[in-house]
Amino acid sequence: MAANDTFQTLLVAAIPNLRAFAISLCGNVQTANDLVQETMLKAWSNRHRFEEGSNFKAWLFTILRNTYFSDFRRGKREVRDEDGLAAASLSSIPEQPGHMDMIDFERSLAKLSEDQKEALLLVGAEGFSYEEAAEICGCAIGTIKSRVNRARARLGELMDVGSSEDFGPGRLTQAVLSKVPTS
């Protein structure tokens, strides 16, 4: 009983991060919710397999990403809905400076390959170490590093060049140009 309570407490505490990762990965809030709930079910069923003192968060994320790649990725269940993501996940945020930047960012993120996006989210957003991310993804540390680097490079390209037609040259381009002396 006490062990279950502890496990459930840990599980509840992890939900916001699991959801954030799932939403970023799936590109669809409904799908992400399904993914996280399925992850919770699996985690609960396998709670006796979790070793006390090992990395609970990494364990949960491993279950989630494995479930995503086996059951949820594009072509199986999930329907990518770029506008839906922007509308649903960010609509609660009031218009403020940076709002459009976030929507642009989200659209750029959606254009990364899934491997690169996953690696970037684990390391850059969730704060896992390269080693932890490699274990979660079941690959070599070098692989994670190169995926993260490629993700960052690709985002740099996407966000710099005409990412939002409404606003002319990308804001990042403008920011860079305003600081670099011409000729």
Partner: protein, 103 residues
Amino acid sequence: MNKLGKSASNGTALQSGEAAPVEELAGTAACDAAPDHERGDLPVALDERIQSQIGQQLSSFYRELVNQPIPDSFMDLLAKLDQAEQKSSGPDTDSGNGTKGGA
């Protein structure tokens, strides 16, 4: 053609006969702070300022998602798991929410 050549990852593709400046050999382009006159040689995408911007936007974006309220359905699910656990030690009744995991 720039006499320093393209910034190669291993620094061996230099085209001129002169010794490469330290900056050219110092490693990946993404990490080095190149002098301003060389900035045009770096892929724009790897520019430090852009990468720093990306880091900030990733954090902001992600933080917004993490801070969103958890839908009630999640807490309902947890309550069901708890109830099923307490009801019996055998397989629980089908809640209609899909199969109990473990595949």
